[in-house]
Amino acid sequence: MSLANQIKEKLTEALAPEYIDVQCESHMHNVPPGAEMHFRVVLVSDAFTSMSKVRRHQRIYAILAEEMAGPVHALALHTYSPEEWPGEAPQSPECLGGGKH
């Protein structure tokens, strides 16, 4: 299973999202071909209702602690409660090559 699918499965199980999208964005970055390091997650869940942004992200980082400690270098998170969901999320920035440091 790809890492993106693994991330999607774990988050789906833990947060029962109304909408979830997990994209591998590693091709946008300074990494070897085929590497899975940069991800973008858009997640709409009732679990986020009346939870602050920082707590939402910390919740996701806790669910994905294993992946964050291992292969995942960057995880762009766009979290919404069902009432907040505008129907689309912002795009990730272009890489500046910092991974080579």
Binding site: V54, H78, P90, G98
Partner: protein
């Protein structure tokens, strides 16, 4: 001073503090660039720490913050969030309000 004490001191001493990769004028990561641009657009002075130049902080802060990645914005001793949260707050106007308040308190305290 050990790294954790150093981090706590930095967070306590700087009302507006950005941990990032590179510097605001020469960011080394797209997420750090976006975060520092949003913060600069708020028009107040802020402190930053380049975690690429401080590998001990880069290793220790994520555990202390319960936040695994950079950038991280800390205001008045509290973790506000990473790039996505900073940019969302900037676009909604919340960030400028928060930064203005923190800067005003910082000036009053000096």
């Amino acid at each position: 001073m050990d790294t954790l004490e150093n981090i706590k001191q930095q967070i306590a001493d700087n009302a507006i503090l950005l941990y990032m990769k590179g510097s605001p004028n020469a960011p080394q990561c797209g997420f750090s660039m976006r975060a520092s641009q949003a913060l600069m657009a708020c028009g107040k002075r802020f402190a930053y720490v380049d975690v690429l130049a401080n590998p001990d902080i880069r290793a220790e802060l994520p555990k202390y913050a319960n936040w695994p990645t950079f950038p991280q914005l800390w205001v008045k001793g509290e973790l506000i969030g990473g790039c996505d949260i900073i940019v969302e707050m900037y676009e909604s106007g919340e960030l400028k309000k928060l930064i203005d308040e923190a800067a005003a308190e910082g000036e009053a305290g000096e």
